[in-house]
Symmetry: C2
Subunit: 382 residues, 2 copies
């Protein structure tokens, strides 16, 4: 066994936990907070409520919402200019993975010079970041607990993975109530993203006993609660369970990294600006089929966590139930089934496959891949 590392932020979880945002920032020494969010979250009323918590603690703030899905390098550069102009000294990210990844990238540039594209890859951050509190409103990206920030290099149209423990926020505040303003498509897509995090982190070459328990628990929660969560915006029990699933999957993948689904979907996000959760949902069954021979024993456990009955089955048949369970879930949720539906054209596949092979997440995929292997998977999912 190699030496493994494990790290999480301080985590505050539960309904009404967002009321602790102000005191959490205060405790970290913040006086002037750069609040990164998006208009969906603003329109749902969450930022207004959160600003009231900042005011209660006499914190000054500046709200910045110029972030889009798949956040772009130029958005980050605009954000850091505004952070500096407003003389902020702490970052609060509120929203889905895009808002939180953008908030982390802005925090990075607050204390490290140059362009965000210089920091692509693992461990390229030199100076400690300002205090960061992250509040997810989707379940979700897991970015609130992860050492990842995924930003699009607009010149190359590539999603860069920036990975460093410096990007782990100081405090993650997860309030399941915020999930009640998500629509059913977003619930389904982000839920399939959580499932992808749970499965890819579990079969990752960098998985450890500390991450595996969280991956498996996330799968159990998803199997039981994702359908009901997508069925009703107001099912509080299901929202709470999915918030916990997202958190546990986030803890797992932050430390065990991911695999080929993410390496491939990052390319579609960068090149086509395609929605991350949706692309993952489409790719997951195909990549799982490909990866199967790398981890049949683990697939058996995945099948069991996803609610399949494996008793009396051969090892092979039991492990193959993972594929059945994932496909059924995707179908029940009505997520799209083809990449052409989200705009991929066959002539783009070779370029995107070459890029995917260079993505950091490919290094921990449990089965070796070549460019033709990746291209074949893209074609299957077309």
């Amino acid at each position: 066994m190699q030496i493994s590392k494990f790290m999480t932020p301080e985590i505050i979880f539960g309904n009404q936990s967002i009321a602790q945002i102000g005191e959490s920032l205060r405790r970290l020494g913040a006086t002037r907070v750069f609040l990164v969010s998006d208009l969906g979250v603003v329109n749902a009323g969450w930022t207004e409520r959160i600003i009231s918590y900042l005011k209660q603690q006499n914190l000054e703030y500046h709200l910045w919402t110029n972030v889009t899905a798949n956040p772009k390098d130029y958005e980050i550069h605009a954000g850091i200019a505004e952070y500096r102009a407003m003389e902020c000294n702490a970052i609060l990210g509120v929203g889905g993975g895009s808002s939180i990844d953008a908030a982390k990238a802005i925090a990075l540039l607050a204390t490290n010079e140059g362009s965000i594209v210089q920091y692509e890859g693992v461990d390229n951050i030199m100076h400690p970041l300002p205090p960061m509190v992250m509040v997810p409103t989707t379940a979700g990206s897991g970015s609130e607990v992860s050492q990842f920030s995924i930003i699009v290099d607009s010149a190359r149209k590539v999603k860069m993975a920036i990975i460093s423990k410096s990007l782990i926020p100081d405090i993650a505040i997860i309030d399941p109530q915020t999930l009640m303003t998500k629509d059913k498509e977003l619930t389904a897509n982000t839920g399939m993203d959580v499932l992808t995090h749970a499965i890819e982190s579990y079969i990752s070459l960098a998985a450890t006993p500390l991450t595996e328990v969280h991956s498996l628990q996330a799968m159990r929660l998803i199997a039981k609660h994702l359908r009901p969560s997508a069925a009703s915006q107001y099912n509080a029990e299901a929202k709470q369970a999915m918030a916990m699933a997202s958190l546990q999957a986030g803890i797992a993948f932050s430390n065990a990294i991911l695999g080929a689904v993410h390496a491939m979907s990052h390319q579609l996000g960068g090149y086509l600006d395609a929605p991350h959760g949706e692309v993952n949902a489409i790719l997951l069954p195909y990549v799982l089929e490909y990866n199967y021979i790398a981890a049949p024993e683990k697939y058996r456990l995945i099948a069991e966590c996803l609610g399949e009955n494996t008793s009396g089955l051969s090892a092979h048949d039991a492990s193959r139930l993972t594929l059945k369970a994932v496909k059924e879930l995707a179908r029940d949720l009505g997520v799209p089934e083809t990449l052409s539906a989200i705009g991929l054209h066959p002539e783009q596949i070779d370029l995107l496959s070459a890029h995917a092979l260079n993505d950091v997440c490919m290094a921990t995929n449990p089965r070796d891949m070549s460019v033709p292997d990746v291209a074949a998977l893209f074609r299957q999912a077309l």
Copy 2:
């Protein structure tokens, strides 16, 4: 569901991980390290090796080994005087729970004034502590990841629980190789301590989904590996598994707290200076029997994690197997079975029972207790 909190240090786990001690301290800004250890660890050669890692990073150090089992307030006060006299600016604890708890208590007094007894209880630490790296050599106390430091108030002969997230070290380095210098009694006693952490944290009123996965995984590892670990000093696989079990149980109880076994055993440690692991091993079956009605469903899962076959059994019969499994493990390991064997006299029971009721760990015990309830358990275990 209430709001829950979860926090761990940065964790580095694996054989040879102690080679990262020097750079870990350097990264935290240390230049002059106060190294807290005990003579057993020194004699096993670990401190010499660790000092070589400090020298490689050009770190100055001062070795301090004046700590005993159940560390006393006056030892801490002598330690902080020496820390100040040697002008250290970071703390490295190497050893069992006593060394690490002492190291954390000295760190506390490095930045917070007065006597260590002023800090008993929850959240009484005002100022941030100096950088702390902790390296356990028993599996174990879990103190390397916990927000606890347990120190004896010598005037009252009471073990004080000092609990604060400030006491969570910055970095925990767990190298299973260090377990190979433990004798079989210490392996058995500290292993039963790990089991107690796993079970008490799991049935604790403060358990959360984040802590439960670690409690249960610790139990599975103990069931499979504690006997082989106690059987051979050189079984590397068993040592690695027990190091992981101790770590996971530590993560669980740091965040979920413990229960009546610890509330009671702290009194015997404070009053009779009795070895912590041994006392826990004796008390655990009796307290489990008492707590049973609080959590029969959880007992069923504990039984399964401990390797019992519950299929076809009634809920009652399945859950009762927990008691059988724990007793058999204690017997197989040959841990003592009575408190009189470790020096408890009947006339001491009333006083110790009253003290136990005031211990912080009693607040999360899943079944209510009165002084006569505690006294009855002490008498059963006599």
